[in-house]
């Protein structure tokens, strides 16, 4: 069910961060694949955010951005990194081919057999994926409309069973935005993080989740930056971030951002409304 990870491949793409052994300390914790939509989704996100023409992607820039996300994903030790690595190597191949000077012969050749843009296949895949996202959005609208119809209980209609919450990323913010925010925090705090190695209190993801929910019971919202500002090690930040992902998955919190590049706000999710009354 979970994609097998290939640690050997990961190290090739690691530049900024040193693995600090959190994998061994939290071996049982895996963020489910289902939360993430994958490399094509990340690429589309990067392209849309930078307002780039999809037919003319600045491949060097996009590759850099992509790898930066990948490093964060790797740091979080999420289990679907393999799919992202395949795309990373595709991007780097395209980048290399774009840098190759065109031999003079191709100029002649191109009249009968036009030189293919190395990006063409990727663009086609992205366009196809875009359609998938549109189809999914259409189904989402339909799902919302029909969730207002309640059928008789006791049937086999999947809607009616009290299932454990599935893994939607509740909220109005894409997960990529969240990872981006986490990445910036890590980067801005790097000097302080050098203190790492000093003995720190062990803290589990569950402890963090409890703490976040407790803080949210006192205040309507929490800010991403305040939540992380008291943390002094990379490990505790990762734990905190994974706790946030898990709470999102459980619908207990939602994240949102009021304006572009504003601080990310954490609020209680639907599943936790009961606690208010």
């Amino acid at each position: 069910m979970l994609l097998k990870k290939r640690p050997g491949f990961l190290s090739r793409f690691r530049h900024g961060f040193r693995r600090n052994g959190q994998r061994a300390e939290q071996p049982e914790y895996k963020v489910k694949l289902d939360i993430f939509e994958g490399p094509l989704d990340l690429l589309l996100h990067l392209i849309e955010r930078a307002e780039i023409d999809i037919y003319n992607i600045p491949i060097a820039y996009i590759t850099e951005e992509y790898l930066a996300y990948l490093r964060t994903i790797e740091l979080l030790d999420l289990y679907y990194a393999g799919d992202f690595l395949v795309m990373a190597s595709t991007l780097m191949q395209i980048k290399a081919r774009m840098l190759l000077p065109r031999p003079p012969e191709t100029l002649v050749e191109s009249e009968e057999n036009e030189e293919e843009d190395p990006r063409r296949e990727l663009v086609e895949r992205l366009l196809e994926y875009k359609k998938v996202k549109e189809a999914a959005a259409a189904l989402r609208a339909q799902e919302e409309q029909w969730s207002r119809y309640y059928y008789r209980s006791g049937g086999t209609f999947p809607d009616l069973e009290e299932e454990k919450p599935d893994d939607p990323v509740g909220g109005d913010l894409s997960l990529w935005d969240l990872i981006q925010a986490f990445r910036s925090l890590l980067e801005s705090l790097t000097p302080r993080l050098e203190l790492e190695g000093m003995p720190v209190e062990e803290e589990s993801i569950q402890d963090r989740m409890d703490e976040i929910m407790q803080r949210l019971s006192r205040k309507p919202q929490l800010y991403f930056s305040t939540l992380f500002s008291g943390l002094t090690t990379k490990k505790s930040m990762i734990t905190c971030f994974l706790a946030i992902l898990e709470l999102i998955r459980m619908h207990r919190i939602r994240v949102r951002q009021d304006r572009l590049f504003g601080d990310i706000e954490i609020i209680r999710g639907e599943e936790d409304d009961g606690g208010l009354q």
Partner: protein, 185 residues
């Protein structure tokens, strides 16, 4: 049997079934013709539609079933023992969209479009009964083919697959779903 009684039985049958009931099935049970059943059903539907009733008969997945009036959904949500609607995750929804529009389709075809492994979302969808295995594709490995189910139709309030929303984004030239989704089978 009197008219009221037949109508009453149809009402009971539609209520008792946990899946949408087809008029043909009702006709078989009552020993009357399907056309009469449909007329009586229309009559019942009309009756429930009046007077801001709390429940109504909906036509879905090729059959008939009771459901609450969507106008009152917000009140139902407040109830302790209300069935909970758990929306599908974005990942599961994308996988489902591909299956819905391209069925029958293999896992490899879905993965090619989504660019990720889809084991987990296929499991979720199978578990929720929204998709099923539907034979195997000819060719190397004879991979399993996936298709949507009746529950899928019900979940999205569709009578049949032809009612799937048309997706054609005019802002992206030349990417009508028909052409883009047209990968080889």
């Amino acid at each position: 049997m009197g008219f009221n009684k037949v109508r009453g039985i149809i009402e009971a049958l539609v209520f008792a079934s946990s899946e949408p009931v087809r008029p043909r099935e009702i006709a078989g049970i009552l020993g009357i013709n399907e056309h009469t059943v449909c007329e009586l059903l229309d009559d019942l539907i009309e009756e429930y539609r009046q007077k801001k009733r709390g429940i109504q008969i909906t036509q879905v997945a090729g059959g008939y079933q009771f459901a609450t009036n969507p106008e009152y959904a917000d009140f139902i949500k407040k109830m302790k023992k209300a069935p909970r609607h758990t929306p599908l995750s974005q990942a599961a929804l994308e996988t489902l969209a591909i299956i819905a529009y391209k069925q029958p389709v293999t896992r490899a075809e879905i993965e090619a479009l989504r660019g990720v492994s889809v084991d987990s979302s296929l499991n979720t969808l199978l578990e929720r009964g929204l998709i099923e295995e539907k034979g195997r594709k000819d060719g190397p490995g004879r991979p399993i083919l996936y298709a949507t189910t009746g529950s899928f139709l019900k979940y999205f309030g569709l009578n049949d697959l032809s009612e799937l929303p048309a997706i054609d984004d005019p802002t992206v030239p030349g990417t009508a779903v028909e052409s883009i989704m047209n990968i080889d089978h």
